[in-house]
Every structure is written in structure tokens, then in C-alpha cells.
Amino acid sequence: MKASVEWLKEYADIEITTKELADRLTMTGSKVETIEEKGKDIKNVVIGKILEITAHPDADKLIVTKINLGKETVQIVTAADNVKVGDIVPVALDGAELPGGKKINKGLLRGVESQGMMCGITEIGLEVNDFSNQIEEGIMILPSSYERYIGMDVVEALKLREDILDFEITSNRPDCLSIEGLGREVAASLGVPFKDPHANIKNNAKIVPGINELKITIEDPDLCYRYAARIVEDVKIGESPEWMKRRLKACGVRSINNIVDITNYVMLELGQPMHAFDINSIEGKNIIVRRAKENEKIITLDEEERVLDNDNLVIADSVRPVAIAGVMGGLNSEVEPKTTTIVFESAIFNGESVRKTAKRARTANRSIF
């Protein structure tokens, strides 16, 4: 179970070093297997703004840029073709170090001095998905709001410095399979108070019977102890904010879109798996939690057709199954770019049944665990 120290700090004040924290938690039973110190290997890379671009006198493919770093202006020669005047970019200066042990020095490029190098997104250890509007090749262009960070170290400006702990959680402590649970462990291990950061949710819309009302029936309560759902309207599917992407990534989960990310975020934070449906794909606005019929079929999100039997629990609408309960959603009820009304599901299913079903379907994902 991976957890970033930054996220844990929301639940308990951690004033000791990461190494000390890891040792303390190991000695109270949550063994830290590895500590990943991200961003520690980036040095002397600074945020700058391009003031001027001129052609290189001696090479067609190179350009000469003058970059404002706040207290100085530097000249950088580059072969990149995606930059323009006014762009905010990360600049590796003379003596800079990049992930992978790469060192940057000033030098002459075809006779013109270059006092460093502008960086592409992968060169500072990030992935294209981590930041909005990024491309694989070329220089990383930061949003214009980053102009206020000119002159600042990129590690600070982009909050690249992150410590991630990987815990070995024993089977008798499933409470530690969430950030909140680990937060309690941290508070208890360090002897500090536990903080609860959660907000209150405001009801801004009303349920109109027949229009946006959802009927839920649990036909097999021995396999589903509780089922809760909530409708959210006027949703626009898009990218999640930076801080959320970063927290998901620290825990080893890919950012997909804002809605899917929310379900994963809640699962990581509270240990409660969630699912999201497009309300329009739920026939009759009727959710029935029931055992599957023998040989009932569903195509799951991974585009595989699954044949179910009476031991598998499904979430179904009036017509067909829309998800294998607790295991995987169906392709037919998936949240799509044009979805505007979401149903969030949060339920407690019989653990053994979920495990058995998942095994038969040969799938594994964090929600099942």
C-alpha cells in the first residue's frame, strides 16, 4: 500500500523526517518496505519566461532564446520548435542535475553560447499525463499562471518533492488499506492528535420524482449489506486538478478523468470502493442488486465478455446487468465524455463473494482488495 507523506500530513502533524516516520511505523507493525524520494534528484532547474527568440546564425535547426529568470537573463540555444515568446518554461542551468543522473553544463552550440537547457516534461521526471496540455516531445510549456514563479526552483514551483512510503499491510489490519486508516496509525504511533479534514456536502438540487429519482432494490441482502447512491447533475467530464493527479499517482493509480478519479480518490482515502454510472444508461432509473442468472452475460469495462452464474452478484437495471458488484463496471453504463448526470455508488458487498467472483473472472484491481 503506497501513501505519500504529504497526504498523510492532512490527518496528523508529522514533524519528524520521513526516515524516522518510516522507522516508527515499522516498529508499530506497519512495515515500510521502501521509501521513494521523488524530486530529490533535480537540482538547479529554474522557471523562466522567454523574452526573445532569434534564428541561430550558423544552424537552420537551432534557435537562440533569451530567458528571464527574475534576477538574471540567460541565453539558451535549442533545437525545439514548440516555443514562442512569452512561454513559461523550466530551464536547467549550468551544473544542473536531472533524474537519471544527467548533468547539464553550459557550452557552445554551433558557436553560440548556451547557458543551459530548456526541459521537456519527461526530463524533469514527470509524465505527459501529469500536467494539462503537455506533449511528449519538445519543451514543457507551463500555464501562464506560473509566471509568478519566475526565478523559483522548479522542484518548489511544481511541488516535485514528494516522499512516498510503501507499506506491507498484514491481513489483520485492513483498516490500514486507506490513507485515513494510515493517518490514524500515524497519529497513534507518533502520539499526536488525529485531524479530520472532511467537508460537509451541500445539497444544491432537489429530487424530482419520475425525473431524476433513482429506485434501489437489494434482492440478495446476504451478499450486499448496504447500498448507497447519490446523483450529481450538471457534470462536465474533464481533467482532474494537479493536486489530485499527484496524489493518485503517488499511490500508483492513473488519472483517467475527473469522475473516475473521484471514485479512485475516495477509495484510496477512505478505503471505500466506489463506482460511477451515467444515469441515462440505467434503464428505468432502477438499480437492482441481485445474483446473476445462470449464463447471464455482461461486457465489462475492459471489453471482455463475462459469463456469470448464480454465485455472482451484479448491479442491474430493469433490463440487464450494468456492473459486476464490487469487481468491475459494465461497458454499457460507463461514464463517457458527454455524460452530464452521474450516479455515484458506494456499497458494502460480502467480501468473500467479491473475491471468489473476481478470481473466476481472473481480474484484480484495488477495489477488490
Binding site: 515499522t26 507493525g29 512495515k31 498484514t170 489483520n172 489490519r173
Partner: protein
């Protein structure tokens, strides 16, 4: 006359070349140049020649005789050197060849470790218990508080022969068998082979060796467990070895712990072997869960006990600095003879 002499020369030369040994060479010599030799015969018959022919033939014969003598001489040298060479080859004795020795076997490092551990515990008054390797799930899981559906049952990734018969994943099954057949006090260790469905890599093997220990009596406490393991660590790995306990979880012990030993390579300062931690994880242990005692008809209100277990390979690797487990299973003489 001249033709005759030339012919003799030609034939003689050929025969000399073809001789394969000194004896036949001598025979050829005698044939042409001996008292009754062909050339000698020609010389004798010179009396039949005219006075003009005589000096001419005489000198020709003498010239040929000289030539043949030379050729015989050369051939003799060649044959002699060949004979010498053959003799040298055949009769040579190489004094640098090492004396023939017997290949003596040695104790396999894993066996050595197990023997050493057996000695330590026998010295502490333990007995050695054994049990079958093909076991019933009853003995490996059910009696050890690991019921069906418990994740520990998958985590161990077992080889199933039938639904109820498996290759044992731990030697704890021997502990159960002992407890069912004997009332306390019990003080045993059970070394043995165990099987888990792991893919082979430098630290994992589907077949490996465990040594487990069990003590049950009145008034056994965790302090006894700590003390026992401390002595064991010191005797097995060095007098200055320290141990530390960390809370852990096993379904059959409560409380459970994992024990690290101070790295015997760096003494705790941090090095490659202990991954700069200063400690190497070595064994799991704990106080026997009361449910397990009950399952074996031992009253947990009267008796208590502790159990511990570790992998022999792990200890061998740590003790001898072996970094790849597979080396211990390959039966390579170059590896084994180092022990």
C-alpha cells in the same frame, strides 16, 4: 654399360628413399655398395672394358658410389631422428601431473545450516520432530486457525493435489501433529522441506527448507521466546548479534512478530547486504494462538507456548554471503566444494 650404371643409380636412389627403418636401409646399402653389391660388381667387371672406357666408367661409378653413400647418410640421419622422436614421445614422463586424488564430498550449505541449528536447539533441550511432506489441508491450515476463505490460504500459494491434500507450505503441520498426539510439556523443532507456488528467482524457490520450533508448557511467556531467539542468534551468527522484534501478523500466533538480526557483515552500520538498514529480516514468531491450542485439545487456560520459524536458505545465504538462491540447487561442484 653407362645405361646399366645409370639404371642402378636410379633404382638405388628410389629404394633408399623408400626405406622405413635402419635395418632395411642397411640392406639397401649392402645391396648396392657391399662386397657383393651391384656397383661393386660393376667395378669388378671393369676388366672386361677397353682401356679407353675404363677411366670413364671408373670415375662414373665412383661418383655414383659417393652420391649413394651421401644419400644413405642423409636417410640414416632422418630415420634416426624419427626413431628418437618416437622414443621421446613414448617414454616421456610428465612430472608436473598431479597425483591422482580421490574426490571427497562435503556437506551442502543448507544441510550444514540445518545441522548447526539442530545442535543449538538440542543443546537447549529440544527434540526433533518430523512429519509428511504431502499433507492434509487440515494440518497445514485448518488447525492453524486459517479457515477456508482466509487470504493467508491463497497468499501462501499452495500446490494442491486434491482439494484436501497439498504439498505442505510450512512445517507447522508437524507441530499440530505433535500437539495432537502428546500433552505438554512440548519442546520441539521441526526442520523440513516445504513447497510454495513461487516462481524461481534469486530469492525464491518453489521448494525450500524451513525450521520451526514449538514450546508448550505452563507459564511460558514472550520473554521466554525472546530469550530463546537471542541465544539462537548469538550461537548461530556470532556472539555480538543483536535481535529486534517488530509487530506482525500470523493467523496462528497472537501476538505475532518478525525478528531482525543485526547485519553480521557490517555489524549494524549499514551495507549492501542489509540494504543499509543494519538489520536483516530472519524469522517470524509469536505466542501460540489459544484457538490453535484448543484445536489440539490442549487447554489454553493452563498451558501457553510460543512458536517460531525461519527459512534455512535465508540463513545459509546470509551466513555465507550467497546472493542467489538458485546456486544452492544446481549441484554444481564448483559451488559445493567451497563448503
Amino acid at each position: 654399360m653407362e645405361e646399366q650404371i645409370s639404371k642402378i643409380k636410379k633404382v638405388a636412389t628410389m629404394e633408399i628413399e623408400e626405406t622405413k627403418d635402419l635395418q632395411s636401409l642397411n640392406d639397401v646399402r649392402i645391396k648396392y655398395l657391399g662386397k657383393k653389391g651391384e656397383l661393386t660388381a660393376v667395378l669388378r667387371n671393369m676388366g672386361n672394358l677397353t682401356p679407353e672406357e675404363r677411366p670413364f666408367v671408373g670415375s662414373m661409378v665412383n661418383a655414383i658410389r659417393d652420391e649413394l653413400e651421401t644419400q644413405i647418410g642423409i636417410r640414416e640421419k632422418v630415420l634416426k631422428s624419427e626413431i628418437l622422436k618416437e622414443r621421446l614421445e613414448k617414454e616421456k614422463i610428465d612430472v608436473t601431473v598431479p597425483a591422482k586424488s580421490r574426490a571427497i564430498g562435503s556437506i551442502h550449505p543448507i544441510t550444514g545450516v540445518i545441522d548447526n541449528i539442530k545442535d543449538i536447539f538440542l543443546g537447549l533441550g529440544y527434540e526433533i520432530a518430523d512429519g509428511p511432506e504431502i499433507e492434509k489441508t487440515y494440518y497445514v491450515f485448518d488447525q492453524l486457525n486459517t479457515p477456508e476463505g482466509h487470504p493467508a490460504r491463497d497468499l501462501q500459494d499452495t500446490f494442491y493435489i486434491t482439494d484436501d491434500i497439498i504439498l505442505r507450505t510450512q512445517t507447522s503441520s508437524v507441530q499440530i501433529r505433535t500437539m495432537e498426539n502428546k500433552q505438554p510439556p512440548i519442546k520441539i523443532i521441526c526442520p523440513g522441506t516445504v513447497y510454495r507456488s513461487d516462481s524461481v528467482d534469486s530469492t525464491h524457490s518453489p521448494v525450500f527448507h524451513q525450521i520451526e520450533g514449538l514450546v508448550i508448557d505452563k507459564g511460558i511467556t514472550m520473554a521466554d521466546l525472546k530469550g530463546t531467539l537471542e541465544i539462537f542468534a548469538r550461537k548461530c551468527l556470532g556472539e555480538n548479534t543483536k535481535i529486534r522484534f517488530r509487530p506482525h501478523h500470523f493467523p496462528y500466533t497472537e501476538p505475532s512478530a518478525e525478528v531482525d538480526v543485526s547485519c553480521f557483515v557490517c555489524g549494524g552500520k549499514g551495507c549492501r547486504v542489509c540494504k543499509n538498514e543494519g538489520w536483516i529480516e530472519l524469522l517470524g514468531c509469536g505466542m501460540v494462538h489459544p484457538k490453535v491450542l484448543k484445536n489440539c485439545n490442549i487447554d489454553p487456560e493452563i498451558y501457553s507456548g510460543f512458536a517460531f520459524g525461519f527459512g534455512a536458505e535465508r540463513i545459509a545465504m546470509a551466513k555465507y554471503g550467497i546472493d542467489d538462491m538458485r546456486l544452492m540447487y544446481e549441484n554444481d561442484g564448483r559451488f559445493l566444494k567451497q563448503f
